[in-house]
Amino acid sequence: MASYKISPQNAFKRNFLEVLWVATARYILFRAINAFIVLFIVMLISSILFNAQMEQQKYAEIRETVAAMMRNPELVSGLNRTEIKQLEQQLTNELIEQYGLNKPYWIRVFYRVKDIMLLDLGHTQNPGLSQTGSTKVSDIIMEALPRTIILFTTGQIIIILIGLFLGLKAAQKAGSLIDRIVGFASMISYSLPMWWLGMIMILIFSYKLHWFPSSSLSALARGDLSTPLGALKAYATAITLPLITLVIVGFGGWAYITMNIVLATLQEDFVMAARAKGIPERKVIYGHVLRASSPPIVTMSIISLLNSLSGAMISEAVFTWPGMGRLYYIALQQGDVPVLLGLTFVTTFLYVFSMVLVDLIYGLLDPRVRVGVSSST
């Protein structure tokens, strides 16, 4: 490494670059490969399971295409019955060949998996799923995905803020009332079905009090989406109940995890050393303690976040929030296989690569994990 003037500012920059350098080193690469393997296995299994159904659909598509082609008068003019039949058969065979349906089983499966991995998710029979009327599964999912992310991410941010604050306070005042509250809130977090709480919320706030609409879709429909203020209001109305539900169920777990980890950190010697140095208590807690606790907090939290993702998705169905969860519900009810497979792919993808992201963040936060350049000097 070229030597240059060390100052606090570029000490940080140096660390960031270091992480990037290390990030391409063994560990993260390894985890990324792991993630791909998982994704591949999952899609392989899914494809095998659904192969028969997908192919039936493909055959149906082929028949339709050929039928459509046969209606073209230019093509069939001047042919007799047998020749028409022959032409039909020929076109069908050509298409079968094109879609690779005549190849052996394993090759067909392989092609399907390849398609999916390359993000060609196929088509669905149901045109009503997309707002634009498209039948491409990727379009449908790409419409739903951002909405899920908006709801979920906003909720998580609120949960993190509340949970961190409560957890820190509870750790500082161990054994007090707030400690007990956090403990209890986390138990609720763990046992309360989020989607059920959603139903209760609708019952209370929609049916009884009429403060909110019972369905997010209807809220959006009723709102005036043409003006930015109107759109904002519509979105706010639609998102409030699901958001509150998410936060109520989620903050307990976060607070509890934070509390435990911070409690453990508070017993470390360097905390006492920091106080001995005359650092004000606030800086000790929010600087030293929080910073030192952040790697395990982040890891545990992302894991709990991923776990709550499933609850959140089911909640979407309850609130008819037009995201991935609701899409899952509809696809399941209607037996829409291409959409299901596509959803499986996207969800698994997000899932496994969030875990890689966790490792990256952990490396950024905890210098002990950065095995690399500096330790060799």
């Binding site: 046992s191 409690l263 609850g311 169905a317 899952y328 698994t348 875990m355």
Partner: protein
């Protein structure tokens, strides 16, 4: 470990456990729930449970009504379920006449009236009629069957839904109501609650349901014309309550038939506990063994086992579960197996590091020097230290399993399920619009129980966790 050593250990443990009141609460709840689960056949009839999806079986119950005890808390009293079986039959002028008296002292009328008749085969097919004398002195014909009754089979009349009774009652009501109201109901006759008409005062508003209730004695006369004295084998009149039972009723999908939620809930306890415990126990035991063995064997075996575990652990549970459930339309036991396949990865990492630590201890080295086999070391040194963690892990795994099953059931719906779980009950509720129609009893009970069952194990697990984690000991 020797027996007396074990006994003292358990005693010490119980003393520690007593310190955590929350663990005691958990234990009490566990006993209650287990009691309900074990004694389910005594509390709620198995017949009811077996016929959960049988429409005919439940025909006598009102659809989607609150529990009976609601009457204690509201000013307006709702009609309670009232059934009359085989009332006295007179034979007058070539007809069987059955008289049924009904005391209506409520504010909210019954949801429906069901009349079930079975006679011996009639010589001549008959037209069954029903007449009622109201407390206000009016006597109305409320039913005249379109189809003739031949006898021999069960004849069922749902006065609320039958065309004949509906028309008769609507015509009756039109005599007393205003032009306005009659006009307003044009074209929407199917939405009229005719039973309410029957029990309302004959004044304006009777057609649209705003007339006050007419309280008093109602005398129903059911007439079955017959030539010879053929016996009435069976007759039952059911005044379907506006409230019912301990927990209210739910509807059978897409019908107006109600089923007793109490039955579903009680028997659902069994399933919940069974699912939760089997998944938690099996997956934890498998995971613990996996971790210990992997740590113990070490070397490349350990590496491979860990990679496998990582890969399986990275697979997101819900999407796969949904996908597979969709394909196989699984029974509850399929779900259990699938969940075990995913859950076993949980304890592996922690257990493995515990086992590795123990492996390095001097007393293990000493034991090995003395010639102890691997197996003996695992059983005698490693497992006793891991078993407490295992129990805490099991306790905390149960709520997760129960909730996952409930969630999956909720999404998939309870189409063909013969054994309802709480999740399926909630699924029915949602599809029947319980949230927007205010059927709170349908939604609250299964959910509260799900949460409570989860909390039971969380309380126990929390107490166990505190006892075993030195950092949290204060």
């Amino acid at each position: 470990m020797r027996l007396d050593e074990l006994k003292t250990r358990i005693k010490l443990f119980m003393n520690e456990f007593r310190r955590y009141k929350i663990g005691i609460v958990g234990l009490v709840l566990l006993v209650i729930f287990s009691g309900i689960a074990i004694f389910a056949p005594l509390i709620a009839p198995y017949e009811d449970y077996k016929h959960w999806n049988d429409q005919t079986y439940w025909e006598e119950l009102p659809p989607a009504v609150p529990p009976a005890w609601v009457n204690y808390f509201s000013k307006k009293k709702a009609a309670v379920q009232y059934e009359v079986e085989n009332p006295p039959v007179e034979y007058v002028e070539n007809a069987h006449i059955v008289t049924v008296e009904y005391d209506f002292n409520y504010d909210i009328p019954p949801k429906d009236i069901l009349v079930k008749i079975q006679t011996q085969p009639l010589a001549k097919p008959a037209k069954i009629t029903i007449e009622v004398t109201r407390p206000d002195g009016l006597t109305i014909l409320i039913y005249s069957s379109y189809d003739l009754y031949y006898g021999g089979q069960m004849f069922k009349i749902f006065l609320g839904g039958d065309m004949s009774s509906r028309n008769l009652l609507i015509e009756f009501a039109k005599q007393y109501d205003t032009e306005e109201n009659i006009a307003s109901i044009e074209g929407r006759e199917v939405t009229i609650d005719v039973i309410k008409i029957l029990f309302s005062k004959a004044e304006p508003g009777i057609l649209v349901g705003t007339a006050p209730p007419l309280k008093g004695k109602y005398i129903f006369k059911i007439k079955i014309p017959s030539l010879v004295y053929e016996e009435v084998e069976y007759l039952k009149v059911v005044f379907k309550g506006a409230v019912y039972g301990l927990l209210g009723t739910a509807t059978l999908k897409r019908t107006a038939v109600g089923r007793d939620l109490f039955v579903g809930i009680v028997w659902g306890t069994r399933l919940a506990l069974l699912i939760g415990l089997s998944v938690a126990v099996i997956s934890t035991v498998v995971g613990v063994l996996y971790g210990v063995v992997s740590a113990y064997l070490g070397g490349w075996v350990d590496e491979v086992m860990q990679r496998i575990q990582e890969i399986v652990a990275s697979i997101p549970l819900l999407p796969i579960l949904l996908l597979l459930s969709f394909l196989f339309k699984p029974t509850v036991w399929h779900l259990v197996t699938l969940m075990v396949i995913f859950y076993w990865t949980g304890p592996v990492k922690t257990v493995r590091s515990m086992a590795l630590q123990i492996k390095e201890q001097p007393y293990v080295e000493a034991a090995r020097a003395l010639g102890a086999s691997n197996w003996r070391i695992i059983v005698r040194y490693v497992m006793p230290q891991i078993i407490p963690y295992m129990f805490a892990s099991i306790a905390l795994g149960v709520p997760s399993a129960i909730l996952t099953e409930a969630g999956v059931s909720f999404l998939l719906g309870a189409e063909t399920a013969t054994e309802p779980t709480w999740g399926m009950i909630l699924s029915d509720a949602y599809l029947a619009g319980a949230t927007i129609s205010g059927y709170w009893w349908w939604i609250l009970t299964p959910g509260i129980l799900l949460t409570l069952t989860g909390l039971t194990f969380v309380f126990i697990g929390y107490a166990l966790d505190r006892i075993l984690s030195p950092t949290l000991k204060k």
